[in-house]
Amino acid sequence: MTPVVQPVVSRSTKKKHTEFEAEALPHMDVLYNFALRTTGNQDDAHDLLQETYLKAYRFWDKYEKGTNIRAWLFRIMKNSYINRYRKETKEPDKVDYEDIENFYNTIRAESTDPNDLQKQLYGNLLGDEVTKALQGLPDDFRTVVILCDIEGLTYEEIAEFVECPIGTVRSRLHRGRKLLQAELIEYAKQQGMIKDD
């Protein structure tokens, strides 16, 4: 056996490493899903996730013990995403809300059960289309929709994640969902699932 010559190893570094693994790694799935829904493909999601974890590792000293680690990781991911893709995050002004309203008005007489409505409207819609529509949302809106409807976070948690007041979360969610409906209706029309009058 060859003798192993070791320098003085800092225990604090090892401690940090162990701590980081125990605290941060369990949230990988949530972060990965968010990255995937945000970037829309596995490769970019991988890059984003990796960058997030490396940054979190380097800045682990900055993480305040006992605070919401998921929110902390998420904010790192969000910032990485913005830096990486520099997307515009303002709300588009071209969406025709009236279109949705009118459409709804024409069918609401027949049914107010969401399940029926869904079958009626999007019976043949594929999951892929919903994913695509979700991905097409402006960042700020998509973010709250993902956090609420996929990850199941409460408004308070979302507010902490995106560092906005709850009122902002509420309105983004509301508008995000409307935009999503508009997209889906548009798609359903193109597919001839809904008559375009």
């Binding site: 192993v4 190893v9 162990t18 995937l36 590792y57 409207l121 819609l125 889906l184």
Partner: protein, 277 residues
């Protein structure tokens, strides 16, 4: 509540986060206002669509392992001579049995990835019942994660209790190694010979101690000792093997046991750590 407010809180109603007291107010408004009812239905529809069609998926295995790898690289940059993942556990002060069990499990996975020294290549003590050969082989098994300590502790003396309960029929010698981060122990029986295994972690170094009763070691047929070792143990109670340079093993004898220490350290380093008697 007016339509503006009602529509504002439509989402809250669906997401179950309606502020206290607003429930009845909202319901009262919805009962008499069709457009707002529609708003709620529409919002619910959107939520359901997303929930049903966009599923959570687990992180793909290759992505997960690539991230773990990059974290490890990062760690090794900070600790250039990092020997193994195992070392990252040492700061843990294990006190509770539950935690200890967890560590043992973790050890298994971490040790498997640890580089195994080519101990089996040692040919000087190739006889399979040679006590030095057995000690080396066990040390390799430990490092490979094949052999696991049954208990781990940061207080080596507490292994005494463990061994007393293990019914070994000889007093296990627990060397007081200075600066020991944690240690582990297990007891076994093979070919009628009861054996104690002690494992110590000191900084980045490991020490494994193999013990059997002196009867088994000196007079038994299942375990053999080099003749030189027998003589030295009888004379001074200590034996180091000078004839094989690849063999940094230290033997000593107590009233009831013969102990063999194998380590990642140089023999001199290990000798300095062992308390003189």
């Amino acid at each position: 509540m007016d339509c503006k407010e009602a529509q504002q809180f439509a989402g809250d109603a669906i997401d179950g986060s309606l502020p206290n007291g607003l429930e009845e107010e909202l319901q009262a408004h919805l009962d008499k206002c069709k457009p707002c009812r529609g708003e709620v239905v529409l919002e619910k529809l959107s939520k359901d669509m997303v929930r049903q069609n966009v599923k959570q998926i687990p992180t793909p295995r290759n992505i997960r392992s690539s991230i773990l790898k990059s974290l490890r690289l990062e760690f090794e940059q900070l600790e250039p001579d990092q020997e193994s993942w195992l070392a990252s556990l040492f700061p843990l002060r294990v006190v509770t049995p539950a935690l200890a069990a967890g560590i043992v499990t973790t050890l298994f996975f971490l040790m498997v990835s640890t580089r195994v020294d080519p101990l089996y290549q040692m040919t000087a003590h190739s006889s399979s019942n040679d006590i030095i050969h057995q000690s080396f082989a066990n040390f390799a098994l430990l490092q490979a994660g094949i052999m696991l300590p049954a208990m781990v502790t940061t207080v080596p003396e507490s292994m005494g209790d463990f061994f007393r309960k293990s019914d070994l029929q000889f007093g296990v010698d627990i060397p007081k190694l200075r600066n020991c981060d944690w240690s582990g122990g297990s007891a076994s029986e093979c070919s009628g010979v009861k054996r104690a295994h002690l494992f110590f972690k000191i900084g980045s170094e490991s020490v494994y101690v193999f013990e059997v009763s002196d009867d088994d070691a000196l007079y038994g047929t299942q375990i053999s000792l080099p003749l030189a070792a027998k003589r030295a143990l009888a004379q001074s109670g200590w034996y180091t093997d000078p004839s094989h340079p690849d063999c940094n093993v230290i033997l000593w004898k107590t009233e009831e046991a013969v102990c063999v220490a194998v380590s990642t350290m140089k023999k001199e380093q290990l000798l300095a750590l062992l308390p003189t008697r």
